[in-house]
């Protein structure tokens, strides 16, 4: 019984004791670090949410594939006068647009294949550079 009383008194006594306090700017220092942490977290979130391959990349890729296919298609049939594509366009021969297409693709057919190769290689390089930069940025954020 006396121990319980003593316990209560000890509690009261301890309440009178003022605990050690950190410096006055402690909360401010913690909050500054919290804000830093928060900005790092949001940067990581942005990187996580950002798609590696953006919309522009896919548009360029589709255009490139179309162009490349056209080049291969027309150059593969170089013996023929206008190539397969122009045959497909025969129904539209009276049309000025089909004439334009025909001349465009026949001109493309005369281009060397190395141009296609250069385009393909540069696309690949852009793609690799983008992946590496994203990866590297993620690492820097993670380290900090």
């Amino acid at each position: 019984m006396k121990t319980v009383e003593n316990d209560k008194k000890l509690k009261e006594l301890l309440r009178e004791v003022k605990l050690e306090s950190p410096g006055n700017d402690f909360t401010m220092k913690v909050m500054n670090r919290v804000w830093e942490e928060k900005s790092i977290q949001s940067r990581v979130e942005v990187i996580k949410n950002e798609r590696i391959l953006g919309k522009g990349f896919w548009i360029i890729l589709v255009l490139f594939i179309a162009l490349f296919a056209a080049v291969v298609f027309t150059s593969g049939n170089s013996g023929e006068e206008a190539g397969q594509l122009s045959k497909l366009m025969q129904g539209l021969q009276n049309d000025q647009i089909s004439d334009g297409y025909k001349s465009f693709f026949s001109n493309l057919g005369s281009l060397p294949l190395s141009i296609g190769g250069i385009l393909l290689a540069s696309t690949l390089l852009v793609f690799i550079e983008r992946i590496l930069s994203q990866f590297g940025h993620g690492l820097i954020v993670h380290k900090s």
Partner: protein, 188 residues
Amino acid sequence: MEVKDDIWYVNKVLNGDTHSFSYLVDKYKDVVFSIAMKVLRNREDAEELAQESFIKAFKSLHTFKGNARFSTWLYRITYNNCISEIRKRKMKFVSADDVQLPDEPDEMNFDGIPAENRAKYVKAALEKLPQDEYTLILLYYFEDKSVEEIVVITRMTESNVKVKLFRARKKLYAFLNEMLKEELYTIL
């Protein structure tokens, strides 16, 4: 009251109001700092460790489920930080088991302590306690934590906490008696 308040602020922080975290820092900085100070015995290091504890708490706030009180969860982070720091520095965690228990009575006549000096004496006696006992006394008497909550914070067994608390109390009384005797001698 504490539960509602703290959880309200925790939810605010989780919902993007980071500034609300400063309320929690202000509320618990003294206890967190006192625990760190007792372990590291250096203000700068203790401040650094206390800051680290709050940053860790902020970073893992999303894992706080509200099953325990926020303070219990925060003190557990602080206690773990202290243990890690001691291991890192290869310091010795002064435990109650390493200190010889003085052969003193389990009770104390608090009325014998002059009222104007009570806080001073108790503080001085508290500082003489080893790290683990100091933390237990701080949590149990100062922070009103139950034995179960102290078990969660320190990961000691319940019986261990009870034994250590008993020993800490006994030691505290012994230190106080000693100081009173010294004062009496100086008066005489």
